[in-house]
Symmetry: C2
Subunit: 364 residues, 2 copies
């Protein structure tokens, strides 16, 4: 009996050992492998299951669980469920959650160049930003910035061009911005400040009541799809389509470096590829649903869509250039990112002027 | 001795059985599973490793092999290596290869509505087409069309807006198209024919010599990135940027339905998600490299970039509308696809006129 136990024990050990390193091939083209399972937490800056932004990480978690055959389970937390929305970065850095989903501009206090990986006023749109990140050296610079915090950034979807926002009065000249209390963050907030407005940082969930109470005169948020679901049309009269502050909002997956290193190579690849698939998916979702939501806002809720006069756009554009040049002059890490961003932007904007832009004009 | 063999045999059988169905959980959070391995062939319509188009399926195969830990190995064949480029559809339908990578308009002889899943002249661009496919019902219609052939279509990347092409004479009026022998396929070819030109179908690899010999007066292919690598600037004088025939070229992965059904669920998901990641990746590659290739063509090779006069664009646009309406009137499957496409297009083009297009104009 002893010898029996010994033999079966050797067999088992041998199976387990080959499974961890090489795999054992059987005659029916099958492998016997030992697989470790993982459970991860993913914290976000969005309300749980929020359309678009909040759906992205949920889609990601589903892709990963199915692709890994359940070996990597990721539980997604809405803002405030585990930690507040603006604590995502620190939570992933500390490893309290293995992953996060957010927008890089929220960390500009900690990392001045972070905004360039989310949105640059009068900068690149979604397609262009993706191209810079993947084929223009952008992602490497982003990884370098997050490295000291033990975080690996990956692309996390895209909202497309965001609207200029909701206003309780019409903007007919640059003077109309004077003293305007507006919820707007990132570089756009600084530009608005120089243009005379009073920029206010505020999570999405507080905008509606602030517009109603008069604590805010104006607010940008995302675009028709999200703005409709927040009901802003009940709290502000004019909807300005002429987005300038966020020609795209690139979202980010944040991954704790040590947690990632503990995954076997196949799960690492599953996580990485899933972020790219979400990046593809979210822009499609926003494109389709922004378009139908704008129809609903106009046709069902009588929303008046406006554009800023050229004078206002020119002033905001000139101020943006000043703000970015100052940021780059004061901070070497901003200068490094801006040099890369601007070189890519100069080429791609010239290219898209004679291709995409010319095409959109020709097809009308 | 006999009993020893019997016990170890029971142990092994038990391991294999639990592995096929449920998995066996160990105390160290590990599973012992039996995994089948697969080797697939993927045939393409492009030269092996061709920039962009040919890189897409190679990237796909790498993603899948790494994500599956080597359980699904996909060998990619260039056009002509296993079958000619225009036989990809039939080869996947027959199951001789489990997968293919191509463009749907190549099958318009067999499936009249197929072109709408690749490129529609004066239609949707890459972002818009992706949105229609994933969130506008497009993919379901595509799947329905390929179903009788035992093929599942999935998105396979995107070239972005294609250039109008290379011409050996200037196009100053619609009369200049008369008798012009031009390599152009899909719906664009039919439009060119009605406009007086002689459209010719020809694989990419034969264009250069045909332009040089005078067998062709003009040819569209893709855009600067691919056109530079084919050296067309040595064979034609003028490069027209005003693309109209393919505002995007959506590429496709073709998957043999029976082969797909034989995969376990995790590998099915790996294949599906990898197609979305490639879709994200290829447009980024084209965007970045088209932009730099156009600089090279102009600055290094002195290429003269031209645009069609408005008169020519208007004529091509009006003719496109006629051709598509006729196609829809003659063929119910085209009518079904066109109804869905047009409804989405009408909304999204109105939306992008006040957002993307307005933004591109404002940022100049």
């Amino acid at each position: 009996m002893k010898s029996i136990i010994k033999l079966s024990s050797i067999l088992l050990t041998s199976l387990l050992l080959t499974a961890c390193g090489e795999k054992q091939q059987n005659s029916d083209n099958a492998q016997i492998v030992k697989q470790q399972t993982f459970e991860w937490k993913l914290v976000t800056s969005w309300p749980k299951n929020f359309p678009g932004l909040g759906r992205g990480p949920e889609t990601f978690a589903k892709y990963v669980e199915k692709m890994s055959g359940g070996r990597l389970k990721i539980k997604v937390y809405g803002a405030g469920e585990l930690v507040p929305g603006f604590e995502v970065f620190d939570t992933v850095s500390a490893g309290t959650a293995e992953m996060g989903h957010s927008g890089a501009y929220y960390w500009k206090g900690k990392i001045p160049a972070a905004s360039f990986f989310a949105a640059v006023p009068f900068g690149m749109n979604a397609t262009e930003t993706n191209a810079w990140l993947q084929y223009g050296g952008g992602l490497e610079l982003w990884q370098k910035l997050y490295k000291p915090f033990g975080i690996i950034p990956m692309v996390g979807g895209n909202s497309g061009l965001q609207f200029a926002g909701w206003f309780n009065k019409e903007i007919n000249s640059i003077d109309d911005l004077s003293g305007l209390k507006m919820r707007i963050g990132g570089i756009g907030g600084e530009v608005m400040s120089r243009a005379g407005a009073v920029p206010i940082n505020m999570p999405g969930g507080e905008i509606f009541s602030s517009l109603q109470s008069g604590a805010l005169d104006a607010s940008e948020w995302v675009g028709p799809y999200n703005d409709l679901s927040f009901g802003f049309y009940k709290a502000a009269k004019y909807y300005y389509s002429s987005g300038w502050q966020e020609p795209t909002a690139t979202l980010e997956f944040l991954i704790n470096e040590k947690a990632f290193a503990k995954l076997p190579l196949d799960l690492q690849e599953i996580v990485t590829v899933a972020t790219r698939a979400v990046n593809d998916d979210m822009l499609s979702e926003y494109t389709a649903r922004n378009s139908s939501a704008l129809k609903t806002l106009k046709e069902k809720h009588g929303v008046q869509v406006r554009t800023f006069p050229p004078e206002v756009m020119q002033k905001l554009k000139a101020t943006t250039a000043l703000v970015i040049e100052e940021m780059a002059a004061n901070e070497p890490s901003v200068a490094e990112v801006w040099t890369s961003y601007k070189a890519f932007y100069d080429d791609i904007s010239a290219y898209h002027k004679i291709t995409e832009q010319a095409y959109l004009e020709n097809r009308q």
